[in-house]
């Protein structure tokens, strides 16, 4: 699956000696067992249980469970909130991925240059990553409230006409949610790109500069291809993360207004916990899982085709 390299960078030669040594390699099964039993055990148990629940009409607590087969899935196809979640997730993924990669590479390059206060900047972009959403969500609700910070600022600089109730518009609310996610994750992306870029030979960049290449040219021709592996990894993680999005829309807009910021996570929570329709919630979960696995496979395959990608 992967072509590994030793520290110097030359590809390892597969010789018959190796094959013999491979056979004598100690059995690894007992070593991967703790992780497999623990994680795969617990999570797959939950998964299978969820699959079973998805065929029920149940409220999660009472002993009354009615088997309804695939009725929950049929209901999903007709549920416009479900299709809305799907659309929002897709848009969310595209926008957050693009902006995070752009910002991440920019920050990484800037932080590699000889500028002042680099550590301070790095810390500032990374602090949002370590803060939990539960602590930062109230801040954002307040910033975009009708008499919150943003509107006060606009009024103060004379741009009163721009002061809106931001959360009242579905599209703007969705953009705000994307913005919060970008705020929270760009730190990690920057660090990953920073490390990836440090593996690019500085001589190559020097040579390009001597040849007269400008900054943008260097980024597009040297940096971008050079960090391909990182980009693929980030794409997969962002795709899966988009499907899992829950904290931010839940705590800031609650999925509203009128389900304009509803994601799978919030819908599952609302259906399972608030409306006590655990069966339907489980069906949504199963579909979510299938989508996530498909996304990971598709992105990985697409990335692999274009070059060497290690996952």
């Amino acid at each position: 699956m992967t072509t590994t390299t030793n520290e110097v960078g030359a590809p390892r030669v597969r010789s018959s000696v190796h094959r013999r040594e491979r056979l004598r390699s100690p059995a690894g099964l007992p070593w991967i067992l703790p992780a497999m039993l623990f994680s795969v055990g617990i999570l797959y148990y939950c998964l299978l249980y969820t699959g079973y629940i998805s065929t029920l009409d149940w409220d999660g607590a009472s002993p009354l469970q009615v088997n309804v087969g695939a009725a929950n899935y049929a209901r999903m196809l007709k549920d416009h909130v479900f299709w809305g979640s799907l659309w929002h997730t897709a848009a969310f993924f595209v926008v957050t991925f693009t902006v995070q990669v752009a910002l991440g590479i920019t920050f990484a390059c800037l932080l590699h240059s000889r500028l002042y206060l680099r550590t301070l900047y790095k810390v500032l972009i990374f602090i949002p990553v370590v803060l939990s959403t539960a602590t930062t969500a109230p801040v954002f609700r307040q910033i975009f409230a009708p008499d919150g910070e943003l509107n006060n600022f606009l009024r103060a600089v004379g741009l009163e006409t721009l002061a809106h109730p931001w959360f009242a518009n579905g599209t703007i609310a969705l953009i705000i949610i994307m913005g919060v996610q970008i705020w929270q994750s760009t730190g990690v992306v920057s660090v990953l790109y920073f490390a990836a870029i440090s593996h690019i030979e500085p001589d190559v960049i020097e040579a390009a500069r001597i040849d007269g290449a400008g900054n943008m040219r260097i980024i597009s021709s040297i940096v971008w291809p050079g960090v391909r592996g990182t980009t693929i990894a980030i794409a997969i993680l962002t795709a899966i993360g988009s499907l899992k999005t829950f904290d931010i829309p839940f705590l800031i807009t609650g999925g509203g207004p009128s389900y304009a910021t509803e994601f799978f996570g919030t819908q599952i929570y609302r259906v399972s916990v608030s409306l006590s329709q655990v069966g339907y919630g489980a069906a949504l979960s199963v579909v979510l899982l299938v989508l996530a696995i498909s996304a990971a496979i598709v992105i990985n395959a697409g990335g692999r085709r274009g070059g060497r990608a290690d996952v």
Partner: protein, 262 residues
Amino acid sequence: MFETRRLRSRVFLQILLTILVVPFALPLVAMVRGSFAGSGWGNYRTVLSLPLLPGFFVNSALLAAAVIVIVLICTMTAAYGFSKLHVRGKEIYFWALLATLTLPEVVLLAPLFATVTKIGAYNTLWAVILPVAALQVPFTTLLARNFVDGISDQMLEAARVDGANAARTFWHILLPLTRPIMAAVVVLVFINAWNDFLLPLLFLQTPDRQTVTLVPSFFVGQYNNDQTKVLAAAVITGLPIVLAYICLQRFFERGLAAGALK
């Protein structure tokens, strides 16, 4: 990396960087400012005088510690196994593990609740520790496996020729080499365990078991959503993590980068 020899470009780049970073810092400023609105330091006094507040920190610390230990054990052994040892159908197992990356916590609610109450683990930290750890292991194994892939086989081969079995190789040779990625795993898992909200909310009921992430919700009442104290509580609960990050920043970046590359 960028052209910084000429003063003009250096100034331009410095300004560009500053402009880009400001939106990241603004919400933090707003958070701190909002926590001082109304009663100012009084908000902090109220939050800090919550009974059992130190207990919350202790519970969060216990949760984080237990999760870290479990995750480290599972991750390092699995990374060693997947990367350096022979397992039939290795990639199938690996993909099975990675597939669980796609599970959001919210999906686990129904099965976990049913199971936890049946085995009587309700209101114990274990009901939170085990699922949180299980959710971390796939990603950390992914990182660690990539890192261990980059460790030269020759050293391990040499050890084996010397007569060491897999266990001794692991303990004496591999682990010392994997310090950066272990540090990264510790920091990552610490952040996620400390910040976990949903599972403690549902499974930890009595204040002597609850974790620090539930403190802001103390101030959300039916008729009085006390924003100022919520923000003060948010600052107080976020401070340890921020400080820890600032101190351990270098380890974390090195480890994260080392594991995610290749």
